[in-house]
């Protein structure tokens, strides 16, 4: 198996569904960071057969990982300090999601005003329902 060096401080996002690492890279805006990021695709996994892993070497305060709870609650987030795992972060659904997903309602004001942020609000925690802040369209609803 391909080896990527050990982190001194940062995060390891493990158990990402195979093939999803690049979209998470974009959603977490890792391209904007000036630090070392390793993406491992299709790593062997006993449980998942194949999985993706992302390693980010940065100050642990730098990243807002809440969005991961929305993307996939099963991702494991290991927080590394001084080369050791100091915490396994539990993922929760964020209350709001900003500029990650887009409202697909053609009647929504965001469809004509390009500068507006796309904001979704968690309206039903149990059923994981997010609605557009402006038009209240449910995210993922088939039109």
């Amino acid at each position: 198996m391909l080896n990527v060096g050990k982190l001194n401080e940062g995060f390891v996002l493990d158990h990402i569904q195979a093939g999803k690492a690049m979209s998470i890279y974009r959603d977490l805006k890792l391209d904007k960071l000036d630090c070392c990021v390793a993406i491992i695709k299709n790593a062997r996994s006993e449980v998942m057969e194949k999985k993706d892993i992302i390693k980010v070497e940065c100050d642990i305060e730098t990243l807002d990982l809440d969005i991961l709870g929305f993307i996939d609650c099963d991702i494991t987030v290991n927080i590394i300090k001084d080369g050791e795992i100091v915490e396994k972060k539990e993922l929760n659904l964020p209350d709001t999601i900003e500029n990650v997903i887009k409202c697909k309602n053609p009647r929504c004001i965001t469809s004509i005003e390009q500068e507006l942020k796309h904001v979704f609000i968690l309206t039903d925690k149990e059923r994981k329902i997010y609605r557009c802040k402006y038009c209240e369209e449910k995210y993922g609803e088939k039109r």
Partner: protein, 306 residues
């Protein structure tokens, strides 16, 4: 400072206060004739509307205030590409309160986020139309004397009709309300209203196709228009538009104190012969719309009258 985006922005108690104020205005309009002297209402309408805009303007004039605004996107800076945020910043410098209609859903909310004056949503696409809902509630309260313990028939286009969705939301907050949902199969109430409002709040309701069968049990019948613009093909529209026509014969089946409401404009879903029936209150509803908007303007401007 408060805005009005959805009828649920107000608590039941706050809504009751607005309805009570509207009733006081109805009883003594002269007391309120000058209370907004020196105040200006901006009606910024990005799409045509006769009733709502005139109702807002009449409401402000009845309060002694002035009105300014535009009545289509073509006659505003929107045609030049100005954003809603910039428009409301500009309007905030000219007026004390603003009523906005926009074809895009959520546009008034965007305005409220950038405004230094109260913004009233005067209809945003198929989303919300809170002043119509407050008008409906006021009409029911004034003519029935209560908002609870009612069996309400909603008839026609229950799928796309935003007034129906808002009214269900608003009335579901009152005690012992039963809905009878009367529509053709294709225009039934959307699943999310059934699940998130009716089932979630354990509201009694039933869905039927034939209006005649349920007429005798209704305290109120809220008729709606089937809107041509909601259909992709003309054939479906033509078939649906004549599905329900309320006429004298059907009115014979109703209770003597049942009321017929309609948000207007009507096309042919209520036969003109019904207009003479004292139970047909849809034109009174228009008058209540002015009182409701007067009460709302006073509330949002924080003006109290002893």
């Amino acid at each position: 400072m408060r805005h009005l985006m959805s009828p649920l922005d107000f608590t039941v108690e706050e809504l009751d206060e607005i309805l009570d104020l509207a009733r006081k205005i109805e009883a003594h309009p002269e007391k309120y004739a000058h209370v907004c002297a020196g105040k200006k209402l901006a009606t910024i309408f990005y799409e045509p509307s006769t009733r709502t805009r005139l109702s807002f303007e009449a409401a402000m004039m009845n309060l002694g205030g002035n009105v300014l605004g535009f009545s289509s996107a073509a006659s505003s800076s929107a045609a030049k590409g100005e954003s809603v945020a910039d428009t409301i910043r500009m309007v905030s410098c000219y007026a004390d309160i603003c009523a906005m209609r926009h074809p895009k859903e959520g546009a008034p909310l965007v305005a409220s986020l950038h405004s230094s004056i109260p913004v009233i949503n005067a209809g945003d696409g198929g989303h919300q139309h809170p002043t119509q809902t407050i008008t409906d509630l006021l009409t029911i309260k004034a003519l029935k004397g209560r908002l609870g313990s009612l069996t309400i028939g909603l008839c026609g286009d229950l799928k796309f009709g935003r007034t129906v969705h808002s009214l269900i939301h608003a009335l579901s907050r009152y005690h012992d309300v039963t809905f009878v949902l009367i529509s053709p199969e294709e225009l039934r109430i959307p699943g999310y209203i059934r699940e998130e409002v009716l089932d979630a709040k354990k509201i009694k309701y039933k869905e039927v196709v034939r209006l005649e069968d349920v007429m005798p049990e209704l305290d109120l019948l809220y008729m709606t228009r089937v809107q041509r613009e909601r259909f992709f093909n003309e054939e479906d529209y033509v078939r649906m538009k004549d599905f329900y026509i309320l006429d004298k014969e059907k009115m014979k089946l109703a209770r003597e104190d049942m009321l017929v409401l309609h948000p207007l404009p009507r096309v042919n879903e209520i036969s003109v012969e019904v207009d003479e029936d004292p139970r047909a209150v849809y034109f009174k509803q228009v008058q209540y719309g002015v009182y409701a908007r007067m009460a709302l303007i006073l509330t949002l401007l924080g003006i109290t009258v002893e």
